[in-house]
Symmetry: C2
Subunit: 330 residues, 2 copies
């Protein structure tokens, strides 16, 4: 079978591709395990470093171009992981781009799946940004009203609705995974308001000083990238019936505060010499964080077999193993 990962050259996309490559097989549209013959990373961006692996291919393109997307979904034994998205900050700056990529691009993908025989499986990376507004409870879950306060969150909520309806009609076999803040992203800080949640660990672990724009009591639900990738694959493997009439599931998460993160870092880092952390609250970032849910209700996700790391220390240890241990061995 073929696996298409949109937004595939990003951090999560590349890890997902590697993990699927290790597994070697996924459940195909027949419901039986099928050998993964090719993995295509479809992305607007050219990868920073060349990505090479047997059966893996990068296709650069524009998801808003219907023809390009239907050429991508060119066989019936196909599965799609849809990660491509204009992100939160960029969506606030360019409304039309967010609707073009997230909404039109998303529909192109759903239509391309619908055009195949046998209702291909599609896993969509949604986001807890679908939640927001003055009526939002502190804990959000699969039965919480979605009142997003960003164009990004709006397009994610719309695609959850469309994927539910395309699945109900039997056009495809969809499932949406609502991602909390995923940590610890390697590389450099980005423009996301949540960037500090990775930087808080990453920079000190790399011996770099970091300034935190939020107070220690700032709360948010987080998940490690390893569990995020495993959950996307587990969701893919579940039979559609397990999801009932709402195939959008909030992933499990750890409800933590910045203070919890600050405490976990030295515990997990061991004898490493860490960069120093200075707290300088930035009212702009703090106002955005105040609009986030504090935690997620993840009972349904856990009952479906989805998981989180056990604690923050495990997430930090995983990052050290994946991104620092090798470098230190050199």
């Amino acid at each position: 079978m073929k696996v298409v990962i949109t937004g595939g050259t990003g951090f999560i996309g590349q890890r997902l591709a590697r993990r699927i490559g290790e597994l070697g097989a996924l459940t195909g549209p027949s419901g039986e395990p099928e050998t993964v013959e090719e993995i295509v990373l479809f992305d607007h961006h050219r990868p920073a470093a060349p990505i090479e692996a047997p059966g893996l291919r990068v296709v650069q393109g524009d998801i808003a171009q219907r023809e390009q997307v239907s050429q991508l979904i060119d066989r019936d034994d196909v599965s799609v992981f849809h990660l491509a998205s204009v992100v939160s900050g960029a969506g606030e700056q360019d409304f039309d781009l967010a609707l073009r990529v997230n909404l039109k691009g998303g529909r192109n993908l759903l239509e391309a799946c619908r055009a195949r025989q046998g209702a291909p499986r599609l896993v969509f990376a949604s986001s807890i940004a679908v939640f927001g507004g003055s009526a939002m409870p502190a804990a959000v879950g699969d039965t919480t009203k979605q009142t997003p306060q960003t164009t990004y969150g709006t397009t994610k909520a719309i695609l959850e609705l469309l994927i539910n309806d395309y699945s109900r009609k039997g056009f495809l076999d969809g499932r949406s995974a609502r991602l909390p803040t995923i940590i610890i992203r390697p590389g450099r800080p980005n423009a996301a308001a949540s960037s500090f949640a990775s930087g808080l660990f990453r920079e000190p672990l790399n011996g770099i000083d970091v300034t935190l724009p939020v107070a220690p009591e700032t709360a948010m639900p987080v998940l490690g990238y390893r569990a995020a990738v495993e959950n996307l694959i587990k969701l893919h493997e579940l039979p559609g019936e397990a999801l009932g009439d709402d195939c959008a599931v909030g992933l499990p998460s750890l409800p933590v505060t910045v203070a919890d993160m600050l405490a976990a870092l030295p515990r997990a880092a061991g004898p490493r010499r860490l960069g120093t952390i200075t707290i300088e609250p930035d009212p702009f970032i703090e106002r955005i964080c105040a609009g986030w849910p504090r935690r997620t209700e993840d009972g349904r996700a856990r009952a479906l077999g989805l998981t989180s790391e056990s604690d923050l220390e495990q997430i930090v240890s995983d990052y050290i193993e994946d991104y620092l241990a090798e470098a230190e061995e050199d």
Copy 2:
């Protein structure tokens, strides 16, 4: 100012136009009352009977044609009531048509408003069909998760989301009204599963026998057409700030059963000779009705000044006054 009513040649659209004509003025984009100079009923359908009134015009067209819609919204002092929609049953039969009219058409309208100066007011007729599914509570309201089980309901939920976001961005000044089953529709039965809720009253009042496809204990929230029209206008007149960060409001409704309706009819009809009512449950219709919410939480709507009729008898009396009294005087 100009008022555009999409789907305007329908039952509610025509009553709304007449009521706005009587009022003579609405709040314009300036926030001040402005004289209504022209009312345009935009519709795909040609009206069954000619509609004539000073300042009133029917424009036949296709809402999915972007150019036609932008020509319609051709001045800045404009308000829009967006009623046009492929309805529930038709949407299940033709998915592509539902998305074309409800989603593409809706976006065309939002973009046409965005292109004007001063963020025109737009009132969208949404529906309680946004609710459904196994996790739906018996009473649905403004904080209930929307998990529609029809393509119609899906497109209504999506447009609520888009109108919230266009409003948040200041592109227009939107408000969505979630309509329950509106009774008593004049004319002939239609293909809607809820058609019996009007026919139950209308046929007997017109001396026609009627067969009901549902059991007396069948429950649903209803609203009279007079209150529906008044509420659409009241929502238009409210300042946007009154709606906060979720400008979609479930209209007030009466939670009734078919037994309640059967009891109200003779009480309100007085000495009229009524057609007989036979109950012959239709499993297909009953299954659809079982998926409807039993009632709505309408506290927010009532706090905003929106209203329902006092009881079913009032709705029946209004229908007699509006559609039977005149005929009987002849």
